[in-house]
Symmetry: C2
Amino acid sequence: MAGRTRNSSSKRATLADVARAANVSAITVSRVLNHPDKVSDELKNRVQQAIDSLGYIPNQSASSLASSKSGVIGVCIPSLSNVVFNDVLRGIYQVAGEGNYKVLLVDTHYSPLEEEKMVRTLLSQSPEAMIITGGDQTRSCERMLSQANIPVVQIMETLEQPLDMNVGFSHYQAGYDVAVRLLETGCHTLGFIGARMDTRVQQRMNGFMAALQERDRLDSKLIVTTPQPSSIALGGELLRSVISASGGKVDGIFCCNDDLAMGALFESQRMNIQVPSQLALCGFNDFEASAYINPSLTSVHVPRFEMGVKAAQMILDQLQERVPANRQVDIGYEIVMRQSTAVV
Amino acid sequence: MAGRTRNSSSKRATLADVARAANVSAITVSRVLNHPDKVSDELKNRVQQAIDSLGYIPNQSASSLASSKSGVIGVCIPSLSNVVFNDVLRGIYQVAGEGNYKVLLVDTHYSPLEEEKMVRTLLSQSPEAMIITGGDQTRSCERMLSQANIPVVQIMETLEQPLDMNVGFSHYQAGYDVAVRLLETGCHTLGFIGARMDTRVQQRMNGFMAALQERDRLDSKLIVTTPQPSSIALGGELLRSVISASGGKVDGIFCCNDDLAMGALFESQRMNIQVPSQLALCGFNDFEASAYINPSLTSVHVPRFEMGVKAAQMILDQLQERVPANRQVDIGYEIVMRQSTAVV
DNA sequence: TTGTACGCGTTATCAT
DNA sequence: ATGATAACGCGTACAA
């Protein structure tokens, strides 16, 4: 009873309701909405009025079912808290929005099994395309994805064998390059601190270690990692570990991301260790703070927004049958040398 | 032709396909999926095998249409880049996931008009509930929301007249309290820097100014704002503005968020201004870095994750007909005094 | 416990 | 340019 007082408790208007109000057939209403050019101006006006007065909102489920077009792009990222994905998502949302696609976003918590479950959930929404992070899917997940027969873009890293399309860069090469650059600035004893250790962080570490190994500079005691999620606090802890492992001799550290690097920097300040004269620090991802902190932080800049944009564009191109120029894109990166590493 | 080579290009399996393969009726398959307890073990096994071998994934559009249950919660936030929403979203996703709800997330770019459009888009997906930021909706948006007849939670700030449910805190009171605390630490000339200036930032500013006004300490020249999006770089610029507007006399600044505060801190360091002895700084939102930076940053801590959790919980309670204990929750905040403000 | 018939709201197809 | 009819894939209601 009480609930019946507002007419808002009456059922949502349907195409048929609008059609009745406008004295036309349902399909005409549908056309006004989806192919306005195929309807005469007179009917268009009548229908539009009925739509407005009824507050009609199309039922996308019915539309999807009838047209097998959901207008949804599924997106899988490993973590909602990791700021790195903010920019990527922004790029995806921007392009998707422009193309009138909705984004269904899920968080896999860095777990391939959870990813598999989430992909199943996404696929049940009949997405027209998927964007998924990295290449670490379960077999079953890969199978679902390929059976879905929709465009799939794997992002964040370049893959040897993408499921379909791919936008990213080589974390291995980036790590390798960082080692080389740090050596060039005169570092002698290099360490690495890494948290979370997902496949991409591992690649950075592998590249870094390979470069050192090739030059006979690798001391694996100075490679300190933890599966814990990355944080500033952790950066401080890991810094202490490396310093003590090196007996105080480490003079350059590659931090697997800028959180860790900032933590290491703050901790250095507290320990009265001069950066960069006593200790060089290099981060990864180039957060905004890295450029402004004192001393400013050398970091690996990655065009994350552009990566999101590119991924979404490749999908739209594909969906609109414009064949995308490339099915695999290396978006690159740039090591930005700042005050936390010595001038060469 | 080429496209026909993989059987993956054949159509997605349906309930009927599974039913045929398992030699049962469609409804039985549906029951295995949704009410497994109502099916005999034998049939359950047969059906499950058919499901697995066909790689059947339910069509949520059809399900939504038939049951008018979409399993979707719509979420509106004003910005994907603003880190503040990460934690809130994490809370929402966690609780929603546990309740087997999917989240459809949209970004309104701080524009009520875009919000209205996005809400329309969300509603077309027949969400079972909505979470929306703040109370600054257009009339038309409010109407749609109430006509949708679903639980709606407005988050991030406490509202006088919520559309439905509400979780947040008083930004006005927080700003007021900051002024009081800064005065208590011995500041004489207080300024404010604010960016973006959405309604919540305005509330913080209003509260701050009111406290100063009441104590005859308000110098409106020292209230410096810009509609530009907040950033660390901007914090530095705004700091300079306030300092010059005050003729160098400002000795305490409330920054509308931690980005700005960090920018102000970094700039102070470059200008050789001692924090807090010459200048006290207080931020807002208490990012992780604020606790570790040197000097550590006084800031207003807000339980964002908890806010997201609470909002989602209120919705689940409502959807499961457990009447929620409260329809409006003040999640509170805490001013965390650190090194960037003097000890009292 | 299992099945049949029908409807959910929309669009595709084919007519007019 | 407009309309009638039949899907789309699933769940509800009821029947057996």
